[in-house]
Symmetry: C2
């Protein structure tokens, strides 16, 4: 059935343009050149994406933190809020709670569910890479299990392809029922150097394409340095999204620092900086409908 | 090209018998019934396999331990040998050393490379499950990175689908060259309760089929308890392989305990015990050639 659909849709696929929400320019060119010229064997086609600020909005606060504050009422210490919101229950109960919250929570600026605040050009990029045999992974600094709740539906990325900060769980078995209970203990923080460490732990190979947007992604890009395509999303579009990160004179922000030194490293190493303002025709899919 | 090959091979696939090295009996029946009657959506088709004693020979010592003793000379403390053999170097250097060793090392009983001492019926089972849309994972109590070195070539299982005991690594970046250095610190021991904990960490879903052979796999089978197929390989064939495990009066052994209580739990919960002697026509692929 799947095969039949593929055969029928094939002529259509040839007509449809790839990356339709990307403007012509150096960013789109770098992507297309990388994919068209790639001679990588299929099993080496691994691409990794940061989540917050790379695939979806991270302002004014990471969605996971908004969730944790909502669930616990703790506003003055976000680490404490996150630790409390994600421990003392089974992994399945925890995921159910996130799932339920995502259905009703709305972003204050757009009054839309957080899962609609994904960047359309990046969704197209995920699809384009997969169409060309790449296996796409998320490598978030946020909680692995938080992102797993929506990754398959929103990004087409299954739970086993989500790498993120990992908490300790403990197996229990009682009256024929098994559970994994969450402990308030971190096994690995997948920010900074923790990103390549998490990639090795979960994937076991060096990726050939890496996408991020902040200082927390620097080491992930360094890890794929001699190995393909590296890109950084620059939030320079206050009108359609936000403008922040300190690079190139943008205002600093509580989350998602894109420092001057990261910008300089990108220039030095040939990493491509994506300007949301210049490179993206649309930012969200709902823009096209409204 | 892949598509074309699939179309051409399809009539051949219909003729070829599944699981040719399995004798007719309750074990083969349980597998075929599970697969034929499964209504699981594709993304839920996850099957997990222990490695030592389930997919390949684990006697007289786990292969990883033989390697560690070979590399370090430490014979009296296998934990110390393993810790030493797998730390103080980059993950890539470590994998290269294992790869090199596997090319020349020979099992004392058969004088064959360890990678030829895989169980042919289990290789057929992996293939049969994959043909029916299952994603196959290894969940070894041994070192994740040790098994990753040969899993793709030997089992058709890529590194990102190998779950095992995980060591801490530290990212380094110097003169434009990045490495992950191994530390002698365990993040997670994936034996006993650590198996389901590792499954959640790496896969994020409950598997629907689980295969093991010892007390270390008990919790993994309990975790999939109400969820499909559970099987245990019983080593009861001293002539063609080994006979050990204490269950049903078999001699006890340093590695791979299959206790009387595990056997009783299997009977109580409807887990299927695979008798190597009765259920397997061949044990190794080289038997057929000789």
């Amino acid at each position: 059935m799947k095969l039949l659909i593929s055969i029928l849709l094939f002529p259509l696929m040839l007509i449809c343009e790839d990356l339709p929400s990307w403007n012509e320019g150096p960013a789109k060119e770098a992507i297309v050149k990388f994919v068209k010229e790639s001679t990588l064997p299929l099993e080496e086609r691994i691409a990794v994406f940061d989540n917050d600020g790379t695939l979806w909005v991270e302002q004014p606060l990471y969605t996971q933190v908004v969730y944790a504050i909502d669930q616990t009422g703790i506003k003055d210490d976000i680490y404490k809020a996150v630790a409390k919101a994600f421990s003392g229950m089974s992994v399945e109960a925890s995921s159910e709670a996130v799932k339920k919250w995502l259905k009703t929570a709305r972003h204050p600026r757009w009054d839309k569910p957080y899962t609609e605040l994904t960047y359309l050009p990046m969704l197209e990029l995920l699809e384009y890479l997969r169409k060309n045999g790449f296996k796409t992974f998320i490598v978030t600094g946020g909680g692995q299990d938080f992102v797993r709740v929506f990754s398959e539906k929103v990004y087409g990325i299954p739970p086993e392809q989500v790498v993120g900060s990992m908490g300790k769980t403990v197996f229990t078995f009682k009256d024929g029922k098994s559970d994994l209970m969450r402990e308030p203990k971190l096994l690995l923080n997948t920010n900074y150097g923790g990103k390549p460490e998490g990639i090795h732990l979960m994937i076991g190979r060096r990726p050939h394409a890496a996408f991020g947007n902040s200082d927390g992604d620097r080491q992930m890009l360094e890890y794929t340095q001699n190995n393909g395509l590296q890109m950084l999303v620059l939030h320079d579009d206050a009108e359609r999204e936000y403008s922040y990160g300190s690079a190139t004179g943008l205002p600093n922000s509580k989350v998602g620092t894109f420092s001057e030194s990261l910008y300089q490293e990108a220039m030095m190493r040939g990493w491509t900086v994506i300007s949301m303002k210049k490179d993206w025709k649309h930012i969200f899919s709902f823009e096209k409908k409204e």
